[in-house]
């Protein structure tokens, strides 16, 4: 859980005519899940790899918890930062357990501590330790490999996690599962996460905040909802599909739009969990025979969701009162 601060960071590759990154200033607060979003070549990966000094800036300063990372030994710095890449890059000659143990070993942890940590992490990523500890990377599926890649990055309990399109090479079904896992793990661990992707849906689903990059600059940096509501320019609006109302609904939980429970209500109404999003709510409303849903939390009814409420939400002047 650390704060990352970019101060006027620039990167110009040798022989390049334009800067890969032009004067980036960006603060990533501790415990935030921040996504760097943009098309390939926009500089998002370069920006991320500067945090663990796989790429050095041409000028500017990067602070990790207030400390200039240039003053820290690069390998020491990397050992404190989790790193997950799209191609996973598990060590093929090591078992799953040995892969996870890499950083703790580098840090000289005592053996029993490493062993219990391996089991703890395998449980966290929902792979049975007894079954997976001794397997080699070639003996597990792509989705399982990326889970192990995540466990390996989390092994020494780093404050910061860098994730470079970690689910980019995984089939759509498994990707959704892994995204859910990622959200669950983040709720448990509260890491500062910097996550690179070009997948807009993924960004909207996972991020606390999204930094949208375009040709080496950050065009806008805000929460998914604010980005969709107030895109800074045409580029952001088009990239996010801001005029896609259903997409916007998928970012808002039912609890924010529900109407208070009247004294008497129809207990036979279909129910929806308050943590579900409005898109699910709309879907269920359209599928049900009634124009209302009963919103429940911990199996207790807490309110009603109606088509009218969703419609009202989509009108900006109403949003401000209702939301939050």
């Amino acid at each position: 859980m650390s704060t990352i601060e970019f101060q006027n960071v620039r990167k110009i590759y040798p022989k390049a005519t334009t800067a890969a990154l032009a004067d980036i200033s960006l603060t990533i607060n501790r415990g935030e899940f921040v996504i760097l979003l943009g098309p390939s070549g926009c500089g998002k990966t370069t920006l991320m790899k500067m945090i663990n000094r796989l790429i050095e800036p041409s000028s500017g300063t990067i602070l990790l918890d207030g400390v200039d990372i240039q003053t820290v030994n690069a390998t020491k710095l990397r050992q404190q930062i989790g790193y997950v890449i799209q191609q996973v890059g598990l060590f093929p000659h090591m078992t799953v357990a040995e892969n996870i143990a890499v950083v703790p070993k580098l840090l000289g942890w005592p053996k029993p501590k490493i062993q219990s940590r391996i089991d703890e992490l395998l449980s966290l990523i929902q792979l049975d330790p007894a079954q997976f500890r001794q397997r080699y990377p070639a003996q597990i599926s792509g989705g399982q490999a990326q889970r192990v890649g995540l466990a390996r990055a989390l092994a020494a309990d780093p404050g910061v996690m860098l994730m470079d399109e970690p689910f980019g090479a995984i089939d759509a079904i498994t990707r959704t599962i892994l995204q859910d896992e990622m959200l669950r793990i983040q709720q448990q661990l509260h890491k500062t996460i910097v996550f690179v992707t070009h997948d807009v849906e993924e960004a909207l689903r996972l991020a606390d905040k999204i930094a949208i990059l375009h040709e080496g600059t950050i065009v806008q940096y805000d929460t998914p909802l604010n980005l969709l509501r107030n895109p800074a320019n045409q580029y952001v609006a088009e990239l996010l599909g801001a005029d896609d109302l259903v997409r916007r609904l998928s970012l808002i939980q039912v609890r924010h739009v529900l109407q208070p429970l009247p004294k008497s209500y129809d207990a036979s109404l279909n129910t929806i969990e308050s943590s579900h999003n409005l898109r699910d709510g709309l879907n269920q409303l359209l599928a049900s025979s009634s124009d209302q849903l009963l919103v429940v939390e911990h199996n207790q009814p807490i309110g009603l969701l109606s088509l009218a409420a969703i419609h009202a939400y989509l009108h900006p002047e109403v949003i401000h009162e209702r939301h939050r």
Partner: protein, 212 residues
Amino acid sequence: MNDIVDGLSYLVAERADVWQLLGQHVTISLLGLVIASLIALPLGLLVVRVRWLAGIVMALLSILYTVPSLAMLIMLIAVFGLSKTTVVVTLVIYAQVILVRNIVVGMQSIDRAVLEAARGLGMNTWQIWWRVELPLALPIMLAGLRIAAIMCIAISSIAAMIGVGGLGQLLFQGITFDRADMIWAGTISIAVLALVCYGLLALLEQRLTPKI
């Protein structure tokens, strides 16, 4: 068939001499192989890391490799005289191509993502080499060592021509004295040496190959 039996009986009858020749043969081959490996390893790693060197070094080694071993020996006699050094230098030159090429291929066979992960997780250059690159490239490097070892044994046989001993001596003396049994004794003993050596290195290779 009789000649082969005669060859075997020669080996038994003259075992004291044969053991001595075997010792010389193994010493020269091993010396050549060890020195060649000590040069090839840093050279191979250098070539892997400095791209533009790769073409030059590999081309140079390949040219040297095309020189017939007999011609190489004779050329080197001019430099080192009729000595073991001449033979060992010849072995080092020939083994170089095989060893360096296999080191380069072995290192290049490693998935780049694995190396990026190693660096990103915080391994230093030495740790990446020792824990990742070496174990992953080792099977291919050892295959090179095995081929180079067989080649050293073969070339060492010719070395008897310049009077430094080895099992090849049986062959040359057999030709000189027109003794079929000596020629067979030499042939059989060199073949057995090569096979045993091949087998041992193959076993080592199997032991050190990661079980994937």
